[in-house]
Structures are given as C-alpha cells and as structure tokens.
C-alpha cells in the first residue's frame, strides 16, 4: 500500500470503522451511566438543583476563584494551555472544519493557520510538561497507571503528526496526513474505553455534583 492508498483508506474505510466504534462505545458508556438511575431527593430543597447543576457544568471549566487553590499552579496553567490549545486546533483549523462540515453540515469561520499552529505548539509543550510532571511528581506518579499514559499518547500523536504534516517535517505530506488521520482514528477507537470519556462524562458528573449541592443551597 503506497501512501496515497493509505490516505485513501484512512479517509474512507478507516474513518468509517473508527467513527463506528467511537459511537458504538460511547453510547454504551453513556447509557450504562444513565440507566443505573438514582434515588429522588426527598429532603426539603433550598432551591431547585437545575440552575446550579447547569452552572457547575460550565463553572468547573473556569479558573477557580482567587482563594481556592494556591499550590497546584502548574497543573492549572499546563492543563488550561493544553486543553485550550487542543480545542482551538480541533475546531478552528480549516481542514478540520471541512471534516465536521462534511459529516454534519455545520461550519464556522476558521482561524488563520499560523495562529492554529501556535496553539498546536502550546498544546504540545503543555502536554510534554504534563507528562514530565506526571512522571516526576510523587503524587501523580503514585496515582497514574497505564491508562493515563495510553490516553496521553492517543492525544499527543494527532497533535504531533498534524504539526509534522503542516510543516512537512521529515516525511512527505501525503504519508504524514494519512498518519495524522490514522492517529485520530486510533484516538476515536480507544476513546470510549479510556479516561478520554471524560470529555463527555465530566458534564454529567458536574451536573450531578452541582445539582446535588445546589439543592442544599451550595453553589459548587
């Protein structure tokens, strides 16, 4: 298989398989969560938890208020840099928007490529820093398992291959583009079976957390 055939495959059958497994797996994961059910709260509520739940879904993405956390500044800075970078790269590069548009019909204006490029570098650097931190920190080292490193690799590879493809580093573009798409497909395939599910489930988790706290009158 030459690189053109490889590219053809990853854009066609490869993507099809990856999306199939991704949707298949994620729906299982989500339904398993929702169908477990929970008991209704019978206590006299201070407020409806709905607004608080919705707020927490968003608020936990925002920087914590000044006095909340002083120490893990590194985790916050690198964490934000990586996630914001990833978000910009995924959703604001023209070729990516083209993919989304062709699949869903939705489109929006892209950012200039050099800007996206800068965010890619920010993300890559932040991810390397986070990896180093995970390995070097006694706390995180203790907490980490193979799944953490697998998820890191699955996320890092698309960024790296994308960056290499854009800059035509070391290999011809065709092969790099194919490798880039393949790395995204690997990400999609393993997504439902790793901690990457947090992309979706944190909103459910935050909803429950915020709602349960909100019913008690605490904005969490």
């Amino acid at each position: 298989m030459n690189s053109a055939e490889f590219l053809l495959w990853v854009r066609g059958s490869g993507l099809q398989i990856a999306l199939w497994i991704f949707l298949f797996g994620m729906l299982i994961r989500l339904l398993e969560i929702f169908l477990l059910g929970r008991k209704k709260n019978l206590a006299e509520l201070r407020a409806s938890g709905t607004a608080a739940g919705l707020r927490t879904m968003i608020s936990r993405s925002l920087p914590p208020g000044g006095n909340i956390i002083h120490r893990p500044r590194f985790t916050f800075v690198a964490g934000y840099a990586f996630h914001i970078g990833l978000f910009v790269v995924i959703f604001f590069l023209t070729p990516h928007i083209q993919v989304i548009e062709s699949l869903t019909g939705l489109a929006w204006p892209a950012l200039p490529t050099p800007v996206v490029d800068i965010f890619t570098v920010i993300s890559l650097v932040a991810m390397l820093a986070l990896l180093w931190h995970r390995l070097a920190s006694r706390l995180l080292n203790f907490l980490s398992n193979g799944g953490d490193y697998l998820a890191w690799t699955l996320t890092f590879m698309p960024l790296l291959t994308g960056y290499m493809a854009y800059h035509h580093l070391w290999f011809p573009y065709t092969g790099l583009l194919a490798a880039h798409i393949l790395s995204v497909e690997l990400l999609l395939i393993l997504f439902p079976f790793t901690k990457l599910t947090h992309t979706f489930t944190i909103f459910i988790a935050r909803w429950y957390n915020g709602m349960m706290a909100g019913e008690k009158g605490v904005q969490s």
Binding site: L8, L19, L35, T94, L103, A110, P112, H168
Partner: protein, 365 residues
Amino acid sequence: MNKERTLGEILRQQGVSRRGFLKFCATTASLMALPPGMVPTIARALENARRPSVIWLSFQECTGCTESLTRSHAPTIEGLIFDAISLDYHHTLQAAAGSAAEQARESAMKENFGNYLLVVDGSIPLANAGFSTIAGTSNLEILKEVAKGAAAIIAVGTCAAYGGLPHAKPNPTGAVPVSAIISDKPIVNVPGCPPIPVVISGVLTHFLTFGRLPDLDHLGRPLAFYGNNIHDRCYRRPFYERGQFAESFDDEGARKGWCLYKLGCKGPVTYNACATTKWNNGTSFPIESGHGCLGCSEPDFWDMGGFYRALSEPIGLSARTVAGGAIGGAALGAASGLLNRKKKAEALARHEKIGVDELKDGETK
C-alpha cells in the same frame, strides 16, 4: 537521419545558437538542482552524445502524454532534444505502419540491445490479455520482450507510472503500472496527466550527461522535478494561511484569487514542478487559471475522494454505516444498562438489614 551525428551537430543544423543551447543547459541544471558548475559538463556531454535509440510503447493510454510533449505552442529546445533522439518506434509519430512498424522495433532492439531507452506510456491490463494488443500481441508480452534489452525504462504519465485512469476504481481491466511487471531494470516514473514536457527532456539530459538515471523519490520520480510540494510553492499559499478561501468557483474569493483548498485543491499532497516550471512556455499552471490542483502526478489521483472535495474530507462515508454504530451502541448500551438495573434490583432484594449485632460480629473480627 544519420545516427552517427552528435546531438550538438543536429541542434546547430536546426538553427539553435550556442548561446541558446547553453541557456537550455543552465535551465536544465537549475531545474534538476545541479550546481552551476555542472553546466559545462552538461553542455559537453550533450554536444557529444550520440542520438540514443528510443523505443516508445503506448499501452492503455490516451495519447495525451505524447500530445503534451510534441505539441508545444512554439518549438522549444526541449522539443528539439526530443526531435534529436532516435525515436525508432512510436505508434502515433512513426510513418511506418503495420508489420513495417513492428519490424522497425525489432531491428532497433537488435541493433541497440542493452543500450536503448524504453519509454512507456499507458498502463498494462492484466485482467484479460486481449483488452489491449498491438499487432495481436498483448501489452504484457510486448513490455516484457522490449524491457529485456532496455538500458532503462521511463514510465511517462501517471498511467505507466502508477496505473493512472485505467487503474481507477473499479479498474475493470486490471490495469497495473510498469513497475508492477518489470523489476530488473531501472525505472524512472515521470507521472503527470500529462507530465510537464521539460521533465522528459530533463531526464533524457541527465541520462545523456551522467549515463544513469537521476535520483528518485520514494515513488520513483526524479527528485529534481518532484521534490517540491505544489501547496508549498503555490502563490496562493498566503491566502491559505490567512484562512481566505474561495467557497465556489464564482464567488468573491474566487475572483480575488483566494486559496482553492475548500474547492478540492490537491496541492498539499501533490509533488510536481507545476508551480515553478508552469505550463505552456511558462505561462501558468492550473491553480493560476482558477482551478484546484487535481494531484495528477500522484498515485490514485482519480480516486482521491473527488476533485472538488477538500482534502481532509472523509470519503464515501455513509451515514448509514456510522448510524449503524450508534444504533448498535444504543441497543447494546440499553441492554447492558437494563441488565445492570436488574442486578442492582436483585442486590436490593437480597439486602438483609444490618443492625449493631452484625457489626459487632463480623467475619473478620
């Protein structure tokens, strides 16, 4: 024409000045990324070269490659180089026909065994030998026979190089490129649909100057001509970087000459000299005329998901199959979720009330 005459003599006879000849040598050297110091070497080698014997085999092709090489707008030096070789066999161009033509080929092969160049355009059908024959002989047989005595093979055009259009899905003739059949001869691929004329003359010049084929890339193409990416060399690249794209062929962006990526330009995956060498005596290249690159010098360019589809877009994805995953996941997820609920209900049913006596009287205590 007398085969004993050198290339230099022929060119002078045709009215090419010394100055013009050196200019050609310099241009060729620069195109092939050779140092300027090589120009006299090229000139000397070309001047003294004997006209090489060339056998040109046309298989499943459209004659576009030949047209491109011979029908230049005005006579060019590369055209003259082309004239100057001893083209001993070429369907379209030779005067001889029928058995006389085949005899010409056989005698050229015999006379120059081991030294002649074999140029192939078109792909070779393997599904059925009868799909493409010349004088009753299949393409496969002729290729194998002629290749035996060839010093090197130049696969001209994407069909000969990578299978090209006949190879496109569903490939009814089982078309394959030359390289799929011949493995014991040096092959240089000069893909393009058609290839740029100067690339042919460049390869010939290299062969005549150095006695060997030029350096090739991973797809068997001369690096000197196919080393550059169209997208990298495209004058519209700044629009890509700025995110300015033509959305249709008649919108404001198209009129302003913005990037054609969204209209399916294959520049980013295409390696060719179009953006620098250009066509029609350096007039322009497709993107300059307002149409995206088709990627014609790349394998399978016909099957790259449609000419007007952006390069990153998925190909042939059916909503049905993807929805299949969703429906399958939903069904299995629902089944699993319901089983979990049942398990939880059973656990609740099994629940035995715990009092302080149990706490005081634990299994491990």
